[in-house]
């Protein structure tokens, strides 16, 4: 694994070159945020600003979510007349981010030829909330990575606290099977070993081993804190529909309140729309202000899609998404016979 600061230096050089040579009009990366344990997305247009780019264990945001809106087609002929030409965009991608980009290209939301993809194999990113929970009543005023890849936080009384990386990695990173970007033009840093293949599967199997009522009770308990803010949907790179089915009022498919029936349908419907498309980036769970395990349902659906149709989202741009295709011998276990 290449050290973060080495990658950071090369990333800055790369961005500076791409912008300076006008190979890209815009470069998306991460920069230091105002609070520790986090980064904030950075939209660069000037080569000299490349020094602001950061690469560290806090680069969790999936930048792919910002790409579709940069390439949105004009709404009508009038808009088309005044719309600026489509930019060429450079973007830093971890393994999961790259998979999102592949899926977006498959769905014609992004033009491959207008993207310059800088891929960095990712050893896993820190979940700020997890770290803060470990710190308890202490507050980190600064945080960085030490030589062993652990997180060194400086708390309010000046003392340093070391947090083991494994203790504070995001849950989705602990399940990561594809840390190396599946698509990129420029590679920075060495490849990273995928995690053990069955973490997600074991979680799903454990839940399935419980009786139906216990599963429902678990689902209810997991989702009961949902405040219907839609942050999970807004943060998801694959949720790019201008008019979401779940916002529609004519007809109204699901109410906007926190009645559990509505909460359940929102999550079931959204998860279903992710089947075969979710690239397990965890942006949804990260965005959730209530700390819900938003990935509870898609985790299972992704496994289903893999088992039934041999498909893992975001691996190959020319692969056909499973719900856009069918096979004559598709299983029909769902049938009722009279």
């Amino acid at each position: 694994m290449t050290a973060s600061h080495e990658i950071e230096t090369r990333l800055r050089e790369t961005a500076e070159r791409l912008l300076g040579e006008k190979k890209v009009d815009l470069f998306l990366g991460h920069e230091k945020a105002s609070l520790p344990l986090r980064t904030t997305p950075l939209f660069l247009t000037v080569a000299a600003d490349a020094a602001r780019l950061a690469w560290n264990p806090f680069c969790s945001p999936n930048l792919a979510v910002y790409l579709p809106r940069l390439f949105r087609a004009p709404a009508d002929a009038r808009e088309a007349k005044t719309a600026p030409p489509r930019p060429t965009v450079g973007v830093v991608l971890k393994g999961c981010d790259a998979r999102s980009v592949v899926a977006l290209i498959q769905e014609h939301q992004l033009p491959r030829d207008k993207l310059v993809l800088v891929g960095i194999a990712c050893p896993g990113m820190v979940d700020a909330r997890k770290a803060e929970r470990v710190l308890g009543l202490h507050e980190a005023l600064g945080a960085g990575e030490d030589a062993h890849g652990n997180i060194r936080a400086v708390v309010e009384d000046g003392t340093e606290v070391t947090l083991r990386r494994e203790q504070v990695l995001a849950d989705v990173c602990l399940e990561c099977r594809a840390p190396t970007p599946s698509i990129c033009d420029i590679v920075l840093g060495a490849a990273v070993e995928p995690r053990e293949a069955h973490v997600a599967r074991r979680q799903a199997e454990e839940l399935e081993s419980r009786p139906a009522d216990a599963r429902w009770a678990h689902f209810q308990q997991m989702m009961s804190k949902c405040i219907r803010c839609n942050a999970c949907r807004q943060a998801c790179p694959m949720c790019y529909c201008k008019d979401c089915l779940l916002d529609q009022t004519r007809p109204r498919w699901v109410g906007a309140g926190t009645d559990f029936s509505d909460v359940a349908i929102y999550h079931l419907a959204r998860a279903f729309h992710m089947a075969g498309r979710c690239t397990a980036c965890g942006a949804c769970a990260r965005a959730c202000p209530m700390g819900l395990d938003v990935r509870l349902l898609v985790r299972k659906l992704n496994l289903e899609v893999e088992d039934l149709y041999g498909y893992r989202p975001g691996e190959a741009v020319d692969a056909t998404p499973p719900l856009s295709a069918f096979a004559m011998d598709d299983p029909q276990e769902f049938l009722t016979e009279p």
């Binding site: 945020a33 405040i227 926190t258 700390g291």
Partner: protein
């Protein structure tokens, strides 16, 4: 209004007494390691070891969803408004001040909101002063403070082993009078210690310049900084839903057959659909207009309309934004 005192070991007794007359909400662990403002049933383990709750107490006076009326076969029926009192113990000074901002909108506005009024008038607020603000807190910059009693009926300060209580309103006085047998007078030394604790808590907070924000924002309306600042915004709604002063709502009818109900739910100006007109036109079509509006509403329009900032410096939006947007940065850029 003399300060009263109760040992912290007697807190459970105090809360149990309050529960005899009202639904009591107090800080308690929720089983996942988080401290929330929980409805007490008597089984919770109440704690004073917390910074602030993730969800603000506004949910108790302006619920996420609220039935305004029901209808069936052409007849409308107002739902019976909840009766009874609630006592909110452990609200932080910033959140208590925020209730006054909500009052401005729902009580002093036109129309007067009876749903909000019922919940609000039935609530007694016992504020717990902050000893340790977070780096995302900036209440002192927006007119508040870690020991501010504005918006509270009773202001409490936790000292080592003791809880000091001071009535801030007549409602608070009546409450403390009803607990007289549990309370004793606080010593002048304890009062002084409480004042020092508050002062010490004010020190670490980094000031944010908001004086004159209304005028500066008016002048900066067309500034390119809005585009730059808003590019990162996902329109996720986290900031509004967690914000103690945000109050925008949507009203929808949920109908099935000939019956249904009219429901009010929280809404967020950062949502793309927030200002979508029936014609299809949207006056705030991109994140830039929406982010600008959010800052303007809190630091300019509220000042122009109500002579009050609609931000209490709680820092939740900064701490929970998935893109780590920080409105203090924007205010600084506008002030520069």
């Amino acid at each position: 209004m003399t300060e009263k005192r109760i040992p912290q070991t007697d807190l459970d007794r105090l809360l149990a007494r309050l529960r005899q007359r009202a639904a009591v909400y107090a800080p308690a662990e929720d089983g996942t390691g988080e401290v929330v403002l929980a409805a007490l049933s008597g089984k919770e383990s109440v704690t004073l070891e917390y910074r602030n709750f993730r969800l603000s107490p506004k949910a108790l006076v302006l619920p996420q969803n609220q039935t305004l009326l029901c209808f069936k076969d052409g007849q409308a029926e107002e739902p019976r408004l909840p009766e009874g009192e609630t006592i909110l113990f452990g609200v932080r000074p910033c959140d208590a001040r925020a209730l006054l901002a909500l009052d401005q909108v729902f009580l002093n506005g036109n129309p007067h909101d009876p749903y909000y009024a019922r919940l609000r008038s039935g609530a007694t607020v016992i504020t717990l002063a902050c000893a340790r603000p977070m780096s995302s807190c900036f209440c002192t910059s927006v007119g508040g403070g870690p020991g501010d009693g504005t918006g509270a009926d009773v202001l409490a300060v936790a000292l080592a082993g003791d809880l000091l209580l001071r009535a801030e309103t007549s409602k608070g006085e009546a409450l403390l009078a009803s607990l007289a047998d549990l309370l004793s007078d606080a010593t002048p030394a304890a009062v002084k210690e409480a004042q020092e604790q508050v002062r010490a808590a004010e020190d670490p907070m980094t000031p944010v310049k908001v004086d004159g924000s209304a005028e500066r924002l008016r002048q900066a309306y067309d500034s390119p900084l809005w585009e730059a600042a808003s590019r990162k915004c996902l329109g996720c709604g986290t900031c509004s839903f967690l914000c103690p002063t945000c109050h925008c709502f949507d009203i929808t009818d949920e109908v099935r057959g000939g019956a249904g109900r009219r429901v009010r739910t929280w809404d967020c100006c950062a949502y793309p659909l927030f200002t979508l007109h029936a014609s299809g036109h949207n006056p705030r079509p991109t994140p830039k207009e929406r982010w600008r509006q959010r800052i303007m509403h809190k630091f300019r329009y509220a000042v122009e309309n109500f002579d009050r900032l609609f931000c209490v410096g709680c820092g939740r939006c900064i701490r929970h934004c998935p893109a780590s947007l920080d409105l203090r940065t924007v205010l600084k850029e506008v002030g520069a």
